[in-house]
Symmetry: C2
Amino acid sequence: MARWEPNTRERLEQAALDLFTEHGYDRTTVAEIAERAGLTKRTFFRYFADKREVLFWGQGELIRLFGEGIAGTPADATPFEAVGGALAAVAPVFGRERLARARQRTPVVAANTDLVERELLKRTKLVAAMREALAARGVGEPVATVAAELGALAFGTTFARWVELGDQRDFAALAAETLSELRTAAGALG
Amino acid sequence: MARWEPNTRERLEQAALDLFTEHGYDRTTVAEIAERAGLTKRTFFRYFADKREVLFWGQGELIRLFGEGIAGTPADATPFEAVGGALAAVAPVFGRERLARARQRTPVVAANTDLVERELLKRTKLVAAMREALAARGVGEPVATVAAELGALAFGTTFARWVELGDQRDFAALAAETLSELRTAAGALG
């Protein structure tokens, strides 16, 4: 990249969210997204492989944080405690300044099957990252997979609650509450 | 449909699987699938909305069976037992005569992100169907969601084991074994 372009990803994402909200995902082109952001189509494709990815660029970093969060919990932590460590590690990403964008993004993704499918693919990668981080701590199968699946469920539930309640409650507190509920539920399956 | 076309869906699916295996999903057209099956492109689109759906047409019925299986378990069954009832209800679908096709399908789906994403979307619908069937039995949240997620995990794991071992073991036995392992794992999360 020849020039310094501050916050290029964020600008393209915000332009895309605005256009998807106004005209719908299908009826928005990459050229229009780039133009709205004051950039070129060529620049867009330097950052993103396709139109969908503009809404998912932060998730690779997020998945990395989940893995690190699990790795960083004490050696004697249970699988659920390790997942709790992962949720605590990602909580700072979901500061109040991100709330408006998250609120705009949620209905845009829900309205389009292509976006829902990409979101599910990222969820699968999140489960895999948590499972591998748990395995690296010596958690065997299928406990690592069950903990990772419930970790992804905890994250999805926490995120939805944060989108709703993020003005009053912070992500870390919602995450701890959600995980505690899932822990109780896992013990009530019979 | 003017004419009687026995097993049209199966013929199109088998033709698609053969072509996807030989040439790859991306390089196969709907016209080629129809031709291989001895049918027209027009007929293909009478049955399937797009090229992807030819591999997923059985899943609506499967999801219905999961819901019915849960509804059909005794009123005093625990959530895990109800999920076990669902797996037992779908087991007859996975008879030995289906094994060759399942073995051919698995690597085809895994090789293409579009197909993986569609599979994940169907999994989400399966979770929703089980969650709703559990809710209809009076199972509250988040227990119903946790049971449904673990039910989908049990199904995915059982299916993978059946693809591998289906010559010697039947689906119902593999399902019971898998669910029992997940039940133990859910109790070992700490």
